[in-house]
């Protein structure tokens, strides 16, 4: 297993190097910092979503769920819209990135915990109902957000819209630093929980029997998930393509690959593996889209396309088995 992790790490280093070096012409002093910032942002987002998705799949006990599938991404735009709605676009743009991040993080974590609690209560163990309810609640949050956006002034509407797509082009240095701290803290927490998460994969009752009652672990894991997703989305915007699609499937692709590369229940291996794959997909994907194919489409659209197909495949395969 460790050999595979090393191979992944090499692959990640390779794609990062290629991302920095390919087509590096013109004023290097200008392009280099720009590319480095973008690389750091991609890396942070990839790791954050990967780790959050692994945690989420462990505490829900199934492998086709992701936080964004359950509407966590939609919450981000909702919080933004609500902020613009209450503060006005002038007041909103007066907020420093640090304050905005803190506000977003708090609101998303609080709402995320509520959302998850509601979903778990509604689903009561039925996985398909949980996913479906989650997707529909995600659609509902999106619809309410859009409704709110129409109620604010059309000019202010522009402010929100420019913020609500995943974007890796303009990244504020302070925001990057704050997010980096949040991602490091979140990842550290996840790592700290790794053995307890292993026990949870046995199911709720067996875990209780081994002295690891799921309830407290659920809360800790959820807090970590909210922290990571909030950090990723406020850094780069939600990863959903903004089209018809119910949600981003990025986390799903990452964990599906991670389970293929390292088929284990041990989070000590699964977590780093997923984190590496998350980085590789975002950086490598951006490299391919931007430098090699020269496509105008954001990477997220392609991820949604492939991810949706992977989701259907996993769902239908599970049934066949």
């Amino acid at each position: 297993m460790p050999r595979r992790l090393i191979a992944l790490a090499l692959l990640l280093a390779l794609s990062a190097a290629a991302y920095i070096l390919i087509d590096l012409k013109g004023p290097v002093a200008f392009i280099l910092p720009y590319r480095l910032t973008k690389l750091a942002a991609l890396m942070l987002v990839g790791v954050a979503i990967a780790v959050a998705t692994v945690l989420f799949q462990t505490i829900t006990g199934n492998r086709i769920l992701t936080p964004s599938l359950m509407g966590f991404d939609a919450l981000y735009v909702f919080v933004l819209t609500a902020l613009v709605h209450t503060l006005g676009s002038v007041g909103f743009s007066a907020l420093s990135p640090g304050v905005l991040f803190a506000l977003n993080l708090t609101a998303m974590t609080a709402l995320g915990l509520v959302l998850f609690g509601v979903l778990m209560r509604l689903a009561r163990g039925d996985m398909v109902r949980l996913v479906l309810t989650g997707i529909v609640i995600g659609l509902l949050i999106r619809a309410i957000t859009e409704f709110l956006q129409r109620l604010i002034d059309p000019n202010e509407f522009q402010t929100v819209q420019s913020l609500s797509f995943a974007r890796f082009t303009q990244i504020d240095g302070v925001l990057l630093a704050v997010s980096a701290v949040a991602v490091i803290v979140g990842t550290g927490l996840a790592w700290h929980l790794r053995h307890r998460l292993d026990v949870l994969s046995l199911g709720q009752e067996a875990a209780t029997g081994l002295g690891e009652p799921p309830a407290s672990l659920h809360r800790l894991a959820l807090l970590t998930i909210c922290l990571l997703v909030a950090a990723a989305t406020s850094l780069a915007g939600p990863l959903s393509s903004g089209g018809f699609g119910p949600a981003s499937f990025f986390g799903l692709i990452v964990t599906a690959f991670a389970h293929m590369v390292t088929p284990t229940h041990r989070h000590a291996i699964l977590l780093p593996c997923a984190a590496l794959i998350g980085g590789i997909i975002l950086i490598g994907g951006q490299l391919v889209m931007e430098r090699l194919l020269d496509l105008a489409t954001p990477l997220t659209v392609v991820i949604e396309l492939i991810g949706g197909a992977v989701f259907l495949y996993l769902l239908l395969k599970r049934r066949a088995a």
Binding site: S201, G203, A206, T208, L210, G211, E212, H265
Partner: protein
């Protein structure tokens, strides 16, 4: 000793257990039996703190359930729940190793590995150790789960209908191993059983539940009678005695 005092429990407004007082002595195999919906599994899961106690008190080996830390309790009692469905893809050895978790909290040492080897050997799982749980038979899987509970090395062992869906060979085999744990290691085993004949054949004591109350308790030979079958189970069947143990003619 497991001591239960004034235990009542309701699920969604409908009462499941009514004011139960029960003392189970140290050692031996105690079987909980009774018709469907009598509250056997609820009683077991309350002892095992799989559900929260609503009213009453349970102590296991002097430790009060609900007040003792989860970790300490996990070193006192092991439980094998009714549903043994595991979403993760685990090998038999992985599963049995989990039994040691309360002792090492994620960092297994030499002692833990010894215990796992011992459990695998004793439950005849050495040949299967690298097989995944979804690749082996139902009987082998149940055996692996009991082996995990064994590896947990606790004085008390709770098993909830471990014979579900097992054929006669696997069921007898498993009950033999359970019997052996009580006899050789002096563990206190409480087991929920569906089939009275397995209970009379392997248990030292029976506790009979009906509608959330204890209808009878004692040695099988004393309490399994045609009257009990009629009053508690609502069926008129003959009881025959064979080698000192009563058996219901089905």
């Amino acid at each position: 000793m497991i001591r239960i005092e004034g235990l009542s429990h309701a699920i969604g407004g409908s009462p499941i257990l009514h004011d139960i007082d029960l003392t189970l002595p140290e050692g031996g195999v105690t079987a909980l039996i009774g018709p469907n919906g009598a509250g056997k599994s609820t009683l077991l899961s309350l002892i095992a703190r799989l559900q929260k106690i609503q009213a009453g008190r349970i102590t296991v080996g002097g430790q009060e359930v609900g007040r003792t830390s989860d970790r300490d309790l996990a070193r006192t009692l092991a439980v094998m729940a009714q549903s043994t469905h595991v979403s993760a893809r685990l090998s038999v050895a992985d599963l049995v190793s989990f039994g040691r978790y309360p002792w090492h909290r994620g960092r297994p040492g030499a002692i833990d590995r010894d215990h796992v080897e011992q459990a695998l050997t004793r439950f005849d799982l050495l040949a299967l150790r690298h097989r995944f749980l979804d690749e082996i038979s139902g009987g082998q899987r149940q055996r692996a789960f009991v082996a995990m509970a064994y590896a947990q090395d606790t004085p008390y062992l709770l098993l909830d209908e471990p014979l579900n869906n097992l054929d006669i060979a696997a069921a007898r085999d498993l009950m033999g191993l359970v019997r052996d744990m009580a006899d050789r290691d002096g563990r206190t085993v409480v087991i929920v059983l569906h089939d009275i004949n397995y209970a009379t054949g392997f248990a030292d004591r029976l506790v009979v539940l009906k509608d959330g109350r204890i209808a009878a308790q004692g040695q099988p030979a004393q309490i399994v009678t045609e009257a009990l079958l009629r009053d508690v189970f609502g069926t008129s069947a003959t009881v025959e005695t064979l080698q000192g143990r009563p058996y219901v003619v089905v």
